[in-house]
Each structure stands twice: as structure tokens, then as C-alpha cells.
């Protein structure tokens, strides 16, 4: 860890070798386009490299920290204008919910999608929209036309279910 904070080259290579696959899978869960996912992965490691000094290991695991960087970068990439435009040609249907989206890449069998797919449909939708697509509970409530209170309750239940699956 100390070596990483000193921005040691070898330590960083080691970090990449150990975590790139896992983070790549998470990125693919959110960014189905492989070329874009490749760019995001590279971007994520540049961010890790630059921000490693700000990582505080008393406040959470390194993986959790990197996972959150990957998730945020992926959601940003998908929401970027360029990507939205390229997707308009592909998806004429509503582009918010492609949980069953095995059309582009079979990414629902890798990363965290595999666990999420084990959830009941009503829970899955919430996790997909919030975790993989980055919508707030308020936005989900409006999109799915479900009261915010119900969204909150279902979300908590979904998370509890999720924990039980991975335990």
C-alpha cells in the first residue's frame, strides 16, 4: 500500500494484474460496448493512479474504493452525449432498462450482474436502475411510476436479498 502511495511502477502493475479483470467485469456490466469499456478501464486505472494518495484504508477496503471509481466512471461514460448518440441507432426501445440486455454482450453472466440476476424481478429492476444505471430513488420512482416510499422499501429488501445470495 505504501508503495502504491509512493506511485511505485511495479506495485501499480501488480495492482492492475490483480484487479483489472474484476473491475473490467463491473465496467462491462454497465458499459456493454466493448471498445468503450476498454477505454473506461484504462481511465479507471489512471484515476486510481492519480487518486491513490486520497485513499484512506481505515474507511474502507481498497477493492470497494476501486469498485466505486469503476462504477462512477462507467455510468458517466454511458451517460456521455457521444455514447447516447451511438446508442440511438441501436436501440429504438426505451434505453433505460436493459437488464435482460443479453443482446449486446452476454455480460449478465459476469461480474455483479450474475448475482443480481438471481434476484426476484421486482428487486432486480431496482438494483439495475440504481446500481448499474445510476438513477436516484426519486428518478426511479418517477420512471417506474411507483411511490418513492415503495421504492425505498423495495430497495432495502433487494439489498438484503443480495447479501443473502452472496453470503
Amino acid at each position: 500500500m505504501l508503495l502504491l502511495k509512493q506511485r511505485d511502477q511495479d506495485a501499480f502493475g501488480y495492482l492492475y494484474d490483480n484487479y483489472s479483470s474484476t473491475l473490467y467485469s463491473i465496467i462491462l456490466n454497465i458499459v456493454p460496448d466493448r471498445d468503450l469499456a476498454n477505454d473506461v478501464l484504462q481511465d479507471v486505472f489512471v484515476k486510481i493512479w492519480k487518486q491513490i494518495e486520497s485513499y484512506d484504508n481505515t474507511r474502507g477496503r481498497l477493492f470497494t474504493w476501486m469498485l466505486n471509481i469503476s462504477r462512477n466512471a462507467s455510468i458517466d461514460a454511458v451517460r456521455s452525449k457521444g455514447y447516447q448518440k451511438s446508442q440511438q441507432n441501436r436501440e429504438l426501445t426505451e434505453n433505460m432498462y436493459h437488464a435482460g440486455g443479453s443482446t449486446e454482450l452476454n455480460t449478465d453472466q459476469i461480474g455483479l450482474r450474475k448475482i443480481v440476476n438471481k434476484l426476484k424481478e421486482e428487486h432486480k429492476v431496482l438494483i439495475v436502475l440504481s446500481y448499474f444505471e445510476g438513477y436516484t430513488q426519486d428518478e426511479i420512482s418517477k420512471t417506474l411510476n411507483i411511490p418513492l416510499g415503495t421504492v425505498k422499501t423495495r430497495m432495502r429488501n433487494a439489498l438484503i436479498q443480495l447479501r443473502q445470495i452472496i453470503k
Binding site: 502493475g13 483489472s20 479483470s21 493512479w49 459476469i110 430497495m155 447479501r163
Partner: protein, 278 residues
Amino acid sequence: MDLQAYIQSGVVESYVLGLAEDQEVVEIEQLIVQYPVIQLAIDEFAIALEKEAFENSLTPPGFIKQKLMAELAFSYKNNDKANPLMIAYNSQNENTTGQYQGKSSTYWKILAAASVILFFVSAAANFYLYNKYNTTNNKYTALLNERNLLQASNQVIQAKVNNYQLATAMMANPAIVTVQMTDPSLKENNMTTVFWDKSNKKVYLLTNKLPLPGPNKQYQLWALVNNVPVNAGLLDPTCTSLCKMKNVDDAQAFAITLENKGGSETPNLGQLFVLGKI
């Protein structure tokens, strides 16, 4: 507070996954400080999540690492110091060969950078020295020219001094007869002097004042022996001081006439310029 209920409420999971709302984050971070059991629950879920994520992972294409390492190579340079920690890390790690490869490529980069810098320094030094050489060479040529000029003028002066010495020696020599020659008509103040060494018969002429001869004309010296003019030589127009003339065995007077170039057998007395008796 019912900690178990709180932990079971899903807030731990939403915190780890980054789904918690700001207010929830503040709340849980305060509670962590108070109740270490919450931290344990967080760690437990995070570890489980990590394990799950590792199990279902997909290896990214190899070129990404290469691109990434190339992109970060600039930042490495500043931090690539071999410190004790680094060495300890290397010796513990099994992948040492790969890691040393990374190191040595950095050394090569430094070496390459150093040789490029050396090349430029050397080029600059060459340029500087070449300029200096040119300047010095020019100065040397100028000095050489100046030296040649000085030598030439020195030779001229030396010749003059020699002439004066000779003239002085002749005037001091009792064997030498000095003959002042003037215009016999006394109209012009033309004047020459003959120095005649009776011991060795040598004759020298000093032109004090004579008009410049016209083109194809030349002054000729005559020695009058028993009133008969004997050729004593032509006056060399390039001779500016004491001029050596023909030897004269005997004479009672000397005269100079202006003759056609190359001289005459007999003097043109109509053109008698100066005359001097001994």
C-alpha cells in the same frame, strides 16, 4: 438503538455499493465510530462482494495494460528511485524478472536521454570551438599581413640607412673626392654630387635636384678627361639616393646631359644640365 436491526436494514449494503443517500452516509459514518460492530458488518459485506466479483470476472485485452503503462510512464520517471522498501518488495515478489525488466527499460531510457543531452552539449561545444578557431585564424592572417608590411617597410628603411651610412663613410673618407655639380648657365638651381673614390676608381652619384626626364629620355654622366667626355654611366631612374656609376680612372670634371633612352656615344651638349670641376 437496536444495532442488529440497523445492520439488517440494508443500509450497510447500500453504503458499500455507493447507493446510500447523503444523509444515510453521514449517519452510518457517525455510527461506525461509536459501534465497531457496524464496521465489521460493512467489512463482511465488502469482502463477500469482492469475492463474488472475483469469481465472475473477465480478463481485459492485454493491450490495455500496455497503453496504460505507457501513459503513466511519465509519472514513473519522477518516482523511480531505488529505495530500500523497493528492494524488499522485489525480493519478496516472485515476479522479479518482469519487474526488473521494467526497471532496466527505465535505465535505458535514462541512458538514452543522457546520450541525447551529451550529443547536444558536444555539438554546442564544437560550434563554439569552430567559431573560436575561425576568429583566431582570421586574426592570425591579419597579423601575418601586418608583419609582412612591417618587414617590407623595415627593408626600405634599412636600405636607406645603408645608403646614408655609405654616404657618410664616403664623405669622411679622405680618398674620396666630392664634386658639386651645378647648372653652368646658373639659370636653374639644379644640383648633383659625385663621390669619386680615387683609390678604387668607384663613382657614386647623388641627385640633389634634377627635373624629371621626359619619356624616352635618360640622364647620362660624363667624365671629362683632358676635355674629352668619357661615358661614366646612365642614371638609373629607380635609384633615389646614392647611385653606383661606372668606374672612372681619371677626370678633371663631371657633367650630366639628357640623352635618348639607352645613352649616347657622345654627349648632347645642348642638353647639359649640370657641370662640376674637381
